[in-house]
């Protein structure tokens, strides 16, 4: 109980260097903690659900399991575009697995240096999702909490009002 509390409050509290999965969205590179990433899979056919917002692509069949997929470009206000290197990062969330479509998966790397310049986060990402800013290839890179983007509160906004 106490263990997990600590972790959720201070993700980088342990001595082990934390790993992040870096991915590209449009011309930006972001990282997300590797811990809860379940898998990265190629894009498959999604079935839209009635009365849901455009950035929710619908459900995809992953080995017999129906997983909801979010278009991260649309979610953050970028125009939708399906490039050749597009992949889906699948997370475990409180409400079951959830995937998000990104333009390219770049690498898995340690979060090397922590930067205090939170101000340098990319403005397209609401600050609530920003975990920290690190330095990668000598450039400040934002580590975002994708699970939070996919959390149930956020997804409640997925539905449009039917009536």
């Amino acid at each position: 109980m106490i263990e997990s509390n600590k972790k959720s409050q201070q993700p980088s509290a342990s001595n082990e260097p934390e790993l992040a999965l870096f991915f590209r969205l449009d011309s930006y590179v972001f990282g997300t903690p590797l811990g809860k990433v379940r898998e990265v899979i190629p894009v498959g056919a999604c079935t839209r659900l009635p009365n849901t917002v455009p950035c929710f692509l619908g459900m995809m069949n992953i080995r017999g399991e129906a997983v909801g997929i979010l278009d991260l470009r649309l979610r953050f206000g970028l125009p939708s575009q399906l490039g050749p290197k597009c992949l889906i990062i699948v997370f475990e969330t409180d409400a079951g697995p959830f995937g998000s479509l990104v333009d390219e998966v770049v690498e898995v790397a340690e979060i090397a240096v922590q930067s205090d310049q939170r101000s340098s986060y990319v403005p397209i990402i609401p600050e609530d999702y920003v975990l920290q800013v690190t330095v990668r290839d000598e450039k400040p890179t934002t580590i975002i909490d994708l699970r939070r983007v996919l959390s149930s509160e956020e997804l409640r906004a997925l539905r449009t009002n039917a009536a």
Partner: protein, 577 residues
């Protein structure tokens, strides 16, 4: 220890059900010695097992109840309605007590009133049998119940004051036993399932062998066909294990009805039909409260006081009929009374007062009956303890809707009212039609479809702005399914739709689709947390092709169309005014 407690709780629940049914039986006629013997055994068994799990207060209370029953056996003249009510009260108290144990909470109960009632009854009759065994401990009256302290593994505090109880509450919460309900399954049923699984594994290994070696297509398809059949059988049997007969629910309803009629000084008799009808366990749990509410209403509002009934030429004793039957994939439950029926005049007035009806409108009896399901609607002139606060019927309606069920009300002035619930017997495996509409596939449960019509072969009235099909001389609005689904790609009017699915009884609608592709038995997964209760979608299913499709709740969609067009009508009416 926890496990033993769990077993104790399960056994206690069974015994208490029996207890209740014996008491209800005794209320119908003169209690026989064999009834009392059975009750005594029940109390005795409970007492014994409660002491074996260290529930001393529970045991000593039952000990007194046991004394009371033996006293009744010795003085049968006293075993009348008063005594039986006391025994039913005991049953309620012990049930609550057990339920609280089940939740893993410390429970403080007040046995004082019942002990007092028992004592008064025994003292009032000059019986020589008030013996020394009967010790009423006044100080034990507020005694709380022992609970198991997980950390120390010992019994903690037998008597806890309310303050202390509150203090303890948070710590109990973290220690709370995670509740998992269980069912008892006969060994024969399990054996039959093992048998099928064995057959299935043989079939599968034969298929694999065939695939590796011979690769004869005909053999393979025969093998896969056989496995498919076995899986179907397995599915049926496992789902069957979760089915329960509806008898338990009826017993509970009978009890509620009797309590209500006692409080209201009315006389009722209760008839049950189809008690062996089976329904899925969780479904049964969900409909219990709605049914209790309906039957209380029936006794409170429906059945008249004896004098009024006789004046109307009816028997002084009102009749409530509970019946259940399976109908395809649905179970139909009817709760009918022979009371005064719904008062349409009052409903109309109330509806207009509340602004639910416009003054000019001339609603049908059916629409008026539906009004009582609206939130805040009650025509009861006095608010009684049981009903009349206008909360309840709308909750009943929402619960049944959430289960894709239906609630119909039939009423007849002076002859009574009947509430008919149609509930899917099983929500997981659903025979469905796969339909195409724009460029999407959807599944529609067959149980929700009344009729499938070919739009090219029926007469359609296109004079209004709403297309209307004439089916059996009845006008039914035709609605494009895609327009109801808010499908962003499908705003174009559906000229190409050729087929229509006709939905339910009220409101009726023909939902037009492009084509019907297939029929399949689908395993429906309800949408979980994030999309929980997405309107118009019951769940999702994976089609044999591997595609995912939404399983639609077309009854909801028909309702949605109905309310939209009604509000449209209201607006146009207002504009005209």
């Amino acid at each position: 220890m926890e496990q033993i407690l769990q077993i104790f709780i399960e056994e206690a629940q069974d015994t208490l059900l029996q207890w209740e049914s014996i008491c209800l039986n005794m209320l119908k006629g003169q209690p026989s010695q064999s009834d009392l013997n059975a009750l005594f055994r029940a109390a005795h068994n409970l007492k014994g097992s409660s002491r074996s799990v260290g529930l001393e207060d529970f045991g000593s209370f039952l000990h007194e109840v046991e004394d009371f029953i033996s006293w009744l056996k010795a003085t049968p003249t006293e075993a009348g309605a008063v005594a039986i009510r006391l025994l039913l009260d005991c049953q309620t108290l012990i049930s609550e007590w057990t339920a609280q144990l089940d939740d893993g909470r410390n429970y403080q109960t007040n046995t004082h009133d019942i002990r007092d009632g028992i004592r008064r009854l025994m003292e009032s009759s000059a019986s020589p049998l008030i013996n020394t065994r009967m010790q009423i401990k006044e100080n034990a009256a507020t005694a709380a119940f022992g609970f198991f302290d997980d950390d120390s593994g010992t019994m903690a505090s037998a008597a806890v004051s309310p303050e202390r109880n509150r203090e303890l509450a948070p710590s109990m919460q973290s220690n709370k036993i995670i509740k998992d309900s269980s069912i008892r399954v006969s060994l024969n049923k399990i054996d039959s399932i093992i048998h099928i699984v064995n057959d299935l594994s043989v079939q599968l290994s034969m298929s694999l062998h065939e695939l590796k070696n011979e690769r004869n297509e005909k053999n393979l398809s025969a093998l896969i066909g056989a496995s498919n059949h076995l899986v179907y059988e397995l599915q049926n049997r496992i789902v069957g294990m979760k089915m329960q007969s509806i008898g338990g629910l009826f017993q509970k309803l009978e009890r509620s009805a009797r309590e209500t009629s006692d409080a209201e000084h009315k006389q009722i008799s209760i008839l049950c039909e189809g008690v062996e009808t089976e329904i899925e366990r969780q479904t049964l749990e969900k409909i219990t409260d709605p049914c209790v509410h309906i039957i209380r209403n029936a006794v409170d509002h429906g059945i008249e006081p004896p004098g009024e009934r006789e004046a109307a030429g009816k028997s002084a004793v009102g009749t409530i009929r509970l019946s259940a039957r399976s109908e395809g994939e649905y179970v139909e439950i009817e709760i009918a009374d022979d009371g005064r029926g719904l008062d349409f005049g009052r409903i109309l007035k109330k509806g207009q007062d509340l602004g639910l009806l416009s003054m000019q409108s001339n609603p049908s009896h059916r629409e008026l009956a539906e009004l009582i399901l609206q939130p805040g609607f009650s025509t009861a002139s006095k608010v009684s303890q049981i009903s009349g606060r206008g909360v309840g019927m709308d909750v009943v309606k929402t619960t049944i809707d959430s289960m894709s069920g239906e609630l119909n009300i039939n009423t007849n002035q002076q002859h009574g009212t009947s509430f008919v619930l149609r509930i899917p017997a099983n929500l997981n495996v659903v025979s469905s039609l796969i339909v195409q509409c724009s460029n999407q596939l959807y599944a529609v449960p067959i149980r929700d479809i009344m009729e499938v019509v070919d739009l090219e072969k029926i007469s359609i009235d296109e004079s209004g702005h709403q297309k209307v099909a004439i089916l059996n001389d009845e006008p039914v609005p035709i609605v494009g399914l895609e327009t109801l689904l808010g499908n962003s790609e499908a705003h174009a009017p559906s000229v190409s739709n050729r087929m229509a699915l006709v939905v339910g009884s009220f409101p009726k609608a023909a939902l037009s689709v492009l084509t019907i592709l297939d029929e399949a038995r689908l395993v429906v997964n309800p949408l979980d947390g994030k999309l929980h209760r997405l309107e118009g979608v019951q769940g999702i299913a994976i089609l044999p092709s591997g595609c995912i499709c939404s399983v639609l709740d077309i009854k909801f969609l028909a309702m949605l169309h109905h309310s939209r067009s009604q509000s449209l009508q209201l607006i146009t009416q207002r504009e005209r005014v």
